[in-house]
Symmetry: C2
Subunit: 202 residues, 2 copies
């Protein structure tokens, strides 16, 4: 993969970790954009719009680099987007509402290819089913500090894995970046794929 | 959780890591048992039998400890159990057979409660759908060394995550231990649950 050209427009350490785990080193440049949900915007529309905005915003501010990846993730319960909890009480309320229920995680992604002036984007939905949580489990999980900066008040790849019974769909999408779909898009843009470095290319 | 009493009868570092991530420190004592598949044994019967054998074998050899967890995981493609690849060629053949297809991962678990002379066991199946892999991706993945000691020649929680498009069922089950079902069984045995330590107990 011609990886020197990938810029990740996201401050999320878990997105960077996902890409680096599969051999795609990234330059991280957080995008500072308004993440408010627009009136009548669906979760899918919301994550696609923000992903595109992040990729293009960071590209606009940098003189170098070819491929810019933007991404955004939301947790959706019964059609309602759950953001990051403001305090312990809100985290507890979110976790109580997810307990024993099924919710959706939507992640959007956009890859802006500056040289070709082209942006590919997509959005992926994964169903997540939670165990029924006791009050003690919810309080104990909040005590770890993990829920406070996470959409929906949990991290599936962290301690929060104890709450998840099943998922249906992409796992990496719940972590924050749907890898299979992202790799398809990178291939479509001619940006290579994992384990393909310059030396191996024809 | 009264965690000082949990002994994990498995050498798998990924099972230990899963338990420790959710606040269950373990004492690891690998079980040395014959892991051959019996004639006419289904994947479910196989992983349940080995899980129970591992837990009870380790308990028999230790003078102390109350709860002993055994576990076993197999990868099943079209009804056939895929073991650990013997060499690069076999790893490549397994990955080619998984490419673009759906397979099943079965993990069994058994918890032996020595004080009560009781063993609870279970087995969980997760469907895993792979991307279509290029020859270069398969060779590149084998070059990382990761496939060689893994059933089915991949690790979903490692670099192998790049091959997985979707899963249906428990994610931790694919890693090697179905946490939700294991926590249910620990609770049934009165062994507590995450974030419940001695100080917090009534």
């Amino acid at each position: 993969m011609q990886t020197s050209r990938i810029i990740l427009a996201s401050a999320s350490p878990r997105r960077r970790e996902l890409l680096e785990r599969i051999g795609i080193p990234t330059i991280v440049v957080p995008a500072h954009i308004d993440e408010s949900v627009l009136a009548d915007e669906s979760p899918e529309e919301h994550v696609r719009r923000l992903s595109r905005a992040k990729a293009e915003c960071v590209a606009a501010g940098m003189p170098e680099g070819r491929y810019f990846i933007g991404s955004d993730t939301v947790v959706v319960l019964e059609g309602r987007i759950l953001g990051k909890p403001a305090d312990r009480a809100e985290a507890a309320a979110m976790l109580r509402s997810l307990s024993g229920n099924r919710h959706q995680v939507w992640s959007g992604f956009a890859i802006h290819d500056r040289r070709e002036g082209r942006t590919l984007d997509g959005a992926v939905c994964t169903d997540v089913e939670f165990r029924t949580l006791s009050a003690q489990e919810i309080e104990g999980y909040i005590d770890t500090g993990e829920p406070m900066d996470k959409a929906g008040a949990y991290a599936i790849q962290g301690i929060g894995t104890f709450m998840v019974r099943q998922i249906h769909g992409s796992y990496t999408n719940v972590v924050g970046l749907p890898l299979a779909e992202l790799l398809d898009a990178l291939a479509e843009l001619g940006a290579g794929y994992p384990f393909m470095n310059r030396e191996q290319q024809p």
